[in-house]
Every structure is written in C-alpha cells, then in structure tokens.
C-alpha cells in the first residue's frame, strides 16, 4: 500500500516536472523592464502635465485632479485611435496600471460591444473593469476610514 502510493507520487512528481518544462516560460525580465520604462514614461508625462498646471498657479495637491482628468482623456483618445492597445501589449502592467490604462480598460470593451447597443453594449461594458475597481476601492476607503476614525477619533 505504502509502496503503491509512493509509486504514484513519484509518477505524479515526474509528470509535474514534465508539465513544468513544457509550459511556455514567461519572459519575466523582459516584461519587467518594459513595464518599468513604459509605466515610468507615462508617469513622466503625468508629471509634465502637473508641472504645466503648477506653472499656472496650482499647488501640487490641487493639480492632482486635473492631471488625472487630462491623463484619462489621453488614454481614452489613444484607445479610440487604436494605439493604446499596443502600449498595453508591450508594456503589460506598465500600460495598464497608470490611469491612462484605466481609461483603456473602460473604452476598449465599450467600443468592442457597441453592436450590442448603447445601453447594454457601450453603457454596461464601460464598467467591466471600472466597476470592480470602484466597488472595491470605495469599500476599502470606507473600511480604512472607519478604522482610522475609530482608532484616532478624527480620521
């Protein structure tokens, strides 16, 4: 009995090893480097936009919201033109994590499902990714705020 199960686990391990070798290796280093440079570049563009607003008399904090608006506008425009999908293809999370990528995650499915109508196609698909992000973001902010309020009394 013991030898049999031993035998099986050996076979299983062998199979696992084989499956591991057959599996296509993700080019991790390349992905990471591309994510760094593309994500860094997009952040740099955002910093440039922030600098522009700060030249016009805003503080860094006041500029955050308009910078987000501009970056989302850029992301939506580039997605519409079909260019941003390439940024995501090469940059991976470097393209997806910045707010431009958030805009892409809204616009791309909305465009794709336009044939399903303006309400259940465009209207609904805008929120395939934005929906979960907003839901859990708002929930997290509520919980964190509540804990901070209970602990410090102020938040």
């Amino acid at each position: 009995m013991a030898t049999k199960s031993q035998h099986q686990t050996d076979e299983m391990q062998e199979y696992q090893k084989m499956a591991q070798e057959m599996r296509p290796k993700k080019p991790l280093l390349k992905n990471v480097l591309l994510a760094f440079f593309i994500g860094g570049f997009i952040s740099e563009v955002g910093q440039g936009v922030q600098w522009f607003f700060m030249q016009h008399g805003m503080s860094a904090k006041e500029a955050t919201s308009p910078v987000t608006v501009v970056m989302i506008g850029l992301g939506a425009l580039l997605t519409g033109l079909g260019w941003y999908d390439r940024v995501v293809k090469y940059g991976g999370m470097g393209g997806s994590l910045p707010v431009t990528g958030f805009a892409n995650a809204m616009v791309a499915p909305a465009m794709e499902f336009r044939t399903e109508g303006l309400v259940l196609g465009v209207g609904a698909k805008l929120f395939t990714v934005a929906g979960p992000v907003l839901a859990y973001g708002l929930a997290a902010a509520f919980v964190v705020g509540l804990i901070r309020w209970l602990v410090t009394g102020v938040a």
């Binding site: 992905n31 994510a35 593309i38 994500g39 860094g40 997009i42 952040s43 740099e44 955002g46 910093q47 936009v49 922030q50 860094a60 955050t64 919201s65 308009p66 987000t68 608006v69 989302i72 506008g73 939506a76 425009l77 997605t79 519409g80 033109l81 079909g82 940059g91 991976g92 999370m93 470097g94 997806s96 994590l97 910045p98 707010v99 990528g101 958030f102 805009a103 995650a105 809204m106 616009v107 909305a110 465009m111 794709e112 336009r114 303006l118 805008l126 990714v129 934005a130 979960p132 992000v133 859990y136 973001g137 708002l138 997290a140 902010a141 964190v144 705020g145 309020w149 102020v154 938040a155």
Partner: protein
C-alpha cells in the same frame, strides 16, 4: 520631482507586472488589488509620503486612486463627521470618475474598433 516620478511610477508598474506574472491573476484582479493597496497605504500615511516626493509617479498609477479615495474620506470626516465616511471618497475622486465616464462614452461612440 521629474526623476522620482519616472522611477516610482516605473517601479509600481514593475510590482504590478510581477504580481501578474508570478500569481494566477488577471490584469483586472491586479488593478483591483492595487487600488485597495493604495487605500490601505494611504490610510496609514505611507502613500502620502510617496506622493510628496514622486508626484505624478505616485498619483498616475492606480494606487493613487485608492489614495485619493481614502484621503477624501479623511478630510470629509474632519469637516462633516461620520457622514464623511460615505461622501468623502467619491467627492475627492469625482473629477477623475466623471472624466473617465464622459471621455470613455465619447470615445466609444466616436471611434470604430479596428479589426
């Protein structure tokens, strides 16, 4: 500021890329995770420090969205009391969210997908 914006913005994307490649998650899972991480780090006061020296490098990645939500809650609780827990997040993020919905709607109506 321009140097750190690039480095921190890039590094946050590297962490996200590693999360995506090393764990069985989809990009949507990673985005949700990063918004929550941003809210938690914002709540304990760490993310604010990152924002003050990396600027857009910290606010442009989606973690900055979580940070915006939680700082909004904090400020609203200070001025309005407990009700701020409900109103603060969306008030602070209103510009970004409304821009995303409007631009997103406009772009998906104006442009045709290329296939």
């Amino acid at each position: 500021m321009f140097f750190w914006a690039f480095v921190i913005g890039g590094l946050l994307c590297v962490i996200a890329q590693l999360t995506l490649d090393l764990f069985p998650l989809t990009p949507a899972h990673v985005l949700v995770l990063f918004v929550v991480i941003g809210a938690v780090l914002g709540g304990v006061g760490l993310y604010g420090k990152l924002v003050s020296f990396a600027g857009a490098g910290a606010t442009v990645p989606l973690t900055g969205f979580g940070y915006t939500l939680v700082t909004g809650v904090g400020e609203a609780v200070k001025t309005k009391g407990v009700l701020g827990l409900l109103t603060g997040g969306l008030t602070a993020a209103a510009g970004g969210i409304k821009a995303a919905v409007l631009f997103g709607l406009a772009a998906s109506l104006v442009f045709k997908p290329k296939v």
